[in-house]
């Protein structure tokens, strides 16, 4: 396949402001919806009263009592659409309101009183750990390999620490918004979302036993990052229920404050990691206790934990491991999917554990990482051999070269010794190795049985039917490239079908960096099916030949619709009980170098330069791949340095962009991106996962650089100036 850097198919319409996002749709005669939420972290609802002096005729109220199947179908189905008797977090929806306009809703909310009887709550992960209740354990995973106990007994030294990562808010620029449009017994749902079939399945469960049918259409989505993976099912239920009750169309549109306070976040983690180390710096054993703060309901926590466990050994060859993961319930807003999905948490821990090993043994950290890095053919602790598509060594080579890491390592050391006091700046350089398992974890892909469909139209165009959504990552353009390359058609002859569940098959959710690798491969197979039908396989043909073959085909047939269901290659097996086998069919790899400066007046960490090399198998669209990498890195720098969600007494204190700080254009480093293409045999043109990996390696590279600068292990992110001050000044004030 030749190199592509195609202009995105949606670029022009987005630049001109013509592209229609959900709030740009003109929904006729719609009511707006609002949510009445719990003000308690854990309580029994005693009563709900409505002020007699308010004109309630203008407001439709919907409560849990009216919902027959009151659970959001996802994994454990433990989260209700509306709380009925008990609330489990501050912000949990209790009532839904609908009215002609926002002003009425705001007024109405002031006239509803909810009385609670407060119950004991675990408002922090620590409180939940201390409480130690079996029912708070959403998921527990144990992965053991080799002889961890013996290894630790016999080790030259044991290095350990506790590593912590914070909440993170997605900050997609378009806040959550969905609409429901009733149409007889059918409710059409439209909205900003990643996974129309997740919503479809949830709606099927919600309306099971009634005559209501639902179809779901994804509208151009203004960013998602996982935040529109599981969460939209909840609010789609809300609008669907209100639409059924009122017979009117319903718009539910979160403002930024509501979005920051009450939607899902990245799981905070607390990871106790221990390495058994030989005197020459070989990691012989790894013991990790991974705790994820999951919030009040299960959502996707078990799968997030699975990825955390399977990422915990990073890019290293560690023969003996005991990885113990727990996803724990707390009485805060539920955590959910977020780019990286558990991987960033445990990768941070393993990378910083390496820092600690280096510091303990007084060996430069890169020496330690290099000495323990996987070789082609090595086995992961799951038993999975890394014997194909392993581009990490090449990534390392490229990034060491572009960053001049080794040279700067010495230069910065000297600078800090001799010049930093005068300049008021500490310099740091850090390196991280990162991995992302491509696609669903374990048997997920076999369970979902993704289907992609392609239709040949009688004018020789093709219609591509998948449920994989465009949320900025460029999937529509990638699919056009994949199909165009195979069928020799120009983009205009490749039509991407609307992501409407009544029009496209379930090709699985747009998550886990799977859309290009898994579904893109299915599309390639679809192309083969079409070429077979047109007798064009294994022959050279032009786009004109294709057109003629299509016309000829339609002379004899009425239609040509091809479908393909995904199956892993036979040898890719995974045991969910032992966590042994192929956690993922293949891995994407990255090597990253960050240069930071710490200002000794403000303690601000500024990432000055960031170098990265990513092995993505094949960059289907070079330019957009770079864009994904740059964007993911900056989001990762935000995670490492800026983004602090303030949780007090179980309540998110941040109200908007004024106090949830993400990187602006003035906070970004110079970026140098290299792409390595070590093809994956089962991906389209060799492509494997891309979307999440850039995020995963960023924070550890920055934390590594910070550790270099201050001479102490940065064991906790975000590394806000308050944290840095504590590390540098060693003062006893708390941050």
């Amino acid at each position: 396949m030749k190199e592509h850097s195609e202009v995105r198919v949606d670029a022009a319409s987005k630049i001109a402001g013509i592209e229609k996002y959900t709030r740009d749709l003109r929904i006729k005669n719609a009511l707006v919806a609002g949510t009445v939420r719990s003000s308690k972290a854990h309580a029994r609802i005693e009563s709900i009263s409505y002020d007699d002096n308010f004109d309630w005729s203008k407001v439709t109220i919907l409560s849990a009592k009216e919902i027959k199947n009151n659970f959001v179908a996802i994994i454990k189905n433990d989260m209700p659409y509306l709380a009925e008797k008990e609330v489990n977090y501050i912000g949990e929806p209790i009532l839904l309101l609908a009215a002609e306009n926002e002003t009425i809703l705001i007024e109405a909310k002031k006239h509803i009183k909810i009385k609670y009887e407060e119950l004991a709550a675990a408002k922090t992960l620590k409180a939940a750990i201390d409480r130690n209740r079996a029912e708070d354990l959403f998921e527990e995973i144990l992965l053991e390999n080799g002889e961890p106990e013996k290894t630790f007994e016999n080790a030259d030294s044991i290095v350990e620490d506790i590593f912590e990562t914070g909440f993170q808010e997605h900050v997609y620029l378009e806040p959550q918004v969905v609409v429901a449009i009733p149409d007889g017994n059918t409710i059409h749902i439209k909205g900003s979302m990643q996974c129309p079939y997740y919503v479809q399945n949830a709606m099927n469960e919600l309306f099971k036993g009634s005559e209501i049918k639902v179809d779901v259409t994804q509208i151009m989505t203004g960013g998602a990052f996982g935040g529109k993976e599981d969460f939209p099912s909840l609010i789609c239920g809300h609008v669907a229920l209100l639409a059924r009750k009122t017979g009117r169309s319903i718009i539910l549109s979160y403002n930024r404050e509501e979005d920051i306070r009450f939607t899902t976040k990245r799981h905070p983690s607390r990871i106790h990691a221990k390495a058994a180390v030989s005197s020459d710096g070989k990691i012989l054993g790894l013991d990790m206790d991974i705790l994820l703060d999951s919030g009040a309901y299960t959502t996707l926590s078990p799968v997030v934990l699975a990825r955390a466990v399977l990422t915990s050994f990073g890019c290293y060859r560690i023969p003996n491991v005991r990885i113990h993961g727990k996803a724990i319930k707390t009485n805060i807003s539920p955590c959910g999917a977020f780019r990286g999905f558990g991987g960033p948490q445990s990768l941070f821990a393993i990378e910083m554990l390496m820092e600690k090993v280096a510091k303990t043994l007084k060996i430069p950290v890169w020496e330690i990482k290099k000495a323990n890095m996987l070789f082609l053919g090595d086995k992961l602790p799951t038993g999975q051999p890394i014997d194909y598509s392993y581009g990490l060594p090449q990534c390392v080579k490229k990034v060491l070269k572009s960053s001049e890491y080794e040279k700067k390592y010495d230069e910065f050391k000297k600078y800090n010794e001799n010049e930093s006091a005068k300049a008021g700046i500490l310099k740091g350089i850090g390196i991280s190795l990162a991995v992302h398992g491509c696609g669903f974890t374990g048997v997920g892909e076999n369970r979902i049985k993704a289907i992609a469909e392609m239709e040949l139209l009688n004018d020789g165009k093709v219609l591509v039917k998948t449920a994989n959504t465009e949320m900025g990552q460029g999937v529509d353009t990638a699919y056009k490239i994949i199909v165009s390359e195979k069928l020799g058609l120009p983009f205009k002859d490749i039509i991407i079908e609307e992501k409407n569940t009544s029009k496209v098959p379930n090709s699985g959710p747009t998550v886990a960096s799977r859309s290009t690798m898994i579904v893109g491969k299915l599309l390639l197979d679809n192309c083969e099916q079409i070429l077979d039908a047109l007798s064009l396989n294994d022959v050279e043909f032009s786009s004109q030949d294709f057109k003629e073959a299509a016309i000829e085909y339609f002379g004899k047939h009425d239609s040509l619709v091809v479908q393909k269901e995904y199956k892993h290659p036979k040898f890719i097996k995974f045991n969910e009980d032992t966590y042994k086998g192929y956690g993922y069919p293949v891995y994407s790899w990255s090597a990253n170098v960050a240069e930071v400066e710490i200002d000794l007046t403000s303690y601000q960490v500024e990432v000055k330069k960031f170098y990265t090399a990513h092995d993505v198998g094949k960059a289907i669209n070079k330019q957009q791949s770079e864009g994904q990498i740059q964007g993911g890195v900056i989001q990762g720098i935000g995670y490492a340095v800026y983004e602090a969600l303030s949780m007090e007494d179980g309540e998110v204190q941040n109200r908007g962009f004024r106090d949830y700080i993400i990187p602006t254009i003035q906070d970004i480093p110079e970026m140098y991106v290299d792409i390595v293409e070590d093809a994956y045999f089962n991906g389209p043109y060799g492509a494997k996962a891309l979307g999440e990996l850039p995020f995963v390696g960023a924070a550890p590279a920055v934390a590594s650089a910070v550790s270099f600068a201050i001479g102490k292990i940065a064991r906790k992110i975000p590394l806000t100036p308050e944290v840095i001050a504590t590390l540098i000044e060693n003062s006893n004030y708390e941050y």
Partner: protein, 163 residues
């Protein structure tokens, strides 16, 4: 209250409350949906428009300030000649991902281009010009490249629009 203003060169007369936001007037009353709402507090810049020839966040402009105002939005600019250069630069440099922030960035780009004809615009000036525009997808790098490219071209952007 009744307000007479000009939007994208057309006189319009609207009924609004004093504190209604220009953003809502544009989107809901005038159906000019190219202007987006990202935060509603003047931090993200997705709702950026020109008002009396100055770049503003339309979420922070109350209706009562609009009397006789001249408002220009992305919807009124896309047909200008210079716009195709902006489109091309953004496209070719890969400056767009989810696109929700893009109209706001484009507005700031236009402001920079028209104010910078004789100034020396370096990276610091670019970064100042976009301090009020937040993008979560791209990491900004490709937007900066697009803007740098535009600054090297001789693009005629009028000093004022629809006046």
């Amino acid at each position: 209250m009744n307000i007479d203003l000009t939007v994208n060169g057309k006189p319009v007369s609207i009924e609004a409350e004093p504190l209604d936001r220009l953003l809502d007037i544009l989107r809901d009353k005038l159906e000019l949906t190219g202007t987006k709402e990202g935060c509603g507090e003047g931090e993200c810049g997705a709702c950026t428009v020109f008002m009396n020839n100055k770049l503003v966040n339309s979420c922070l402009v109350p209706a009562m300030h609009l009397h006789n105002a001249n408002v220009v939005t992305i919807d009124g600019l896309r047909d200008f000649d210079f716009f195709r250069f902006i489109t091309k630069a953004y496209e070719e440099n890969g400056a767009v991902q989810c696109g929700f922030c893009t109209p706001g960035f484009v507005m700031s780009t236009i402001n920079l281009l028209r104010n910078s004809s004789e100034k020396n615009v370096g990276d610091e000036e670019i970064k100042d010009a976009f301090a009020g525009n937040i993008c979560r997808c791209t990491g900004y790098d490709k937007i900066i490249k697009a803007v740098r490219q535009l600054l090297t071209m001789d693009i005629k952007v009028p000093e004022r629009f629809y006046e």
